[in-house]
């Protein structure tokens, strides 16, 4: 049977063979330099055995405790009414305190100087990563003009990116986060 007459049904990805020699060269030369070193990092004995219990404890601490709903007694009704009264008094007091002592006007977010807000973010450990911020603020609702007052041209943006960004892949936010 002449095998050459049969068309080859197997395919390889485009450019596979072109990149193969470079990949092999990398693997061989690295192996020569490092000498096939084994794992150097160690873990404490029994660490993985105790890990499940540790994680379960951490998660149960995280979960909010839910109290079962019971029938409301007279005493509980009395307590609830008293709590509402205390909250009302505290809120009224808080409103009085938020008034400026100089102008007598109620203070709001707009009264804060930008420098005070910047100072707060600069010197308080917020512990929020960029992707957590991205989760909280949906980007579809944010326009660049919401953040920057002075308008700029597209060419300026491209110039900036060309000069300052080494790897354009870094600009992509992860999916599923």
């Amino acid at each position: 049977m002449n095998l050459n007459k049969i068309n080859n049904p197997f395919k390889i990805p485009d450019g596979y063979l072109d990149g193969l020699s470079a990949e092999l060269k990398d693997a061989v030369s690295l192996e020569d330099t490092i000498g096939g070193s084994n794992e150097a990092f160690q873990v404490p004995e029994g660490y993985f055995d105790s890990l499940n219990a540790k994680i379960s404890t951490a998660i149960s601490k995280e979960q909010v405790r839910v109290l079962p709903i019971r029938s409301i007694t007279f005493q509980q009704k009395y307590l609830a009414a008293a709590s509402v009264a205390v909250i009302f008094i505290l809120v009224s007091f808080a409103v009085l305190l938020t008034k400026s002592p100089i102008t007598g006007k109620e203070m709001s977010f707009e009264d804060l100087a930008s420098s005070e807000i910047e100072y707060y973010f600069e010197f308080n450990e917020l512990d929020i990563s960029t992707y957590e911020i991205a989760e909280m603020i949906p980007l579809e609702q944010v326009e660049i003009t919401d953040i920057i007052d002075s308008p700029f041209r597209e060419e300026q943006v491209l110039d900036y990116l060309n000069t300052n960004i080494e790897d354009f892949e870094d600009l992509n936010l992860e999916n599923d986060e």
Partner: protein
Amino acid sequence: MPSDLLRITAWIGRFLLNHSLVRKSKRYNAFVLIAEETLVAQLKQKDSQNQAFEFLVETYKERLYWHIRRIVLDHHDTDDVLQNTFIKIYRNIDGFKGESKLYSWMYRISTNEALSFLKTKSKKLGIPNETLLERTAGNLQEDVYFEGDTIQLQLQKAIATLPEKQKLVFNMKYFEELKYEEIAEILDTSVGALKASYHLAVKKIETLLKTTN
């Protein structure tokens, strides 16, 4: 009955994960997909959630541990990051839409957690991120959980000098032996870009190791 099923699936899952030859087969990939779908469904149901989560931790704890350890280097830091990773996975499993594979999603969370951890730590110490890593790699000799020889120590020091992305790609390819397609899904980038990053990383490591020897 569901607990027996989970136990059997756990055993098969661990067997498959621990055998690199099986990991490369098509049947393995099919099994992983089916097992993942079942697992995700069980993780989202309140009655099976705890057992399914235990299975998830049991199956992936070692792989995720080593992935994080190679980024943060210190065992105690790795322990913190690993616990946070599993807590995040538990909290956010309802938001997992199945657009990527479950393990890629978990790897991505652990990568982000590890990188965020390093950024917070370097900020607290008032030093740049790169300095922190180079310092940690430099102190590996005194680490009781590091038993590498001179070349392994130099290798870790060389890896610490790489840019973040090259470091991730190098660790995932060289130590964790992940395929480019798997790394591409985890880091949400193209296979071509990864090959270039790996090649650059290898060249830099070789040059560094040759100059120090």
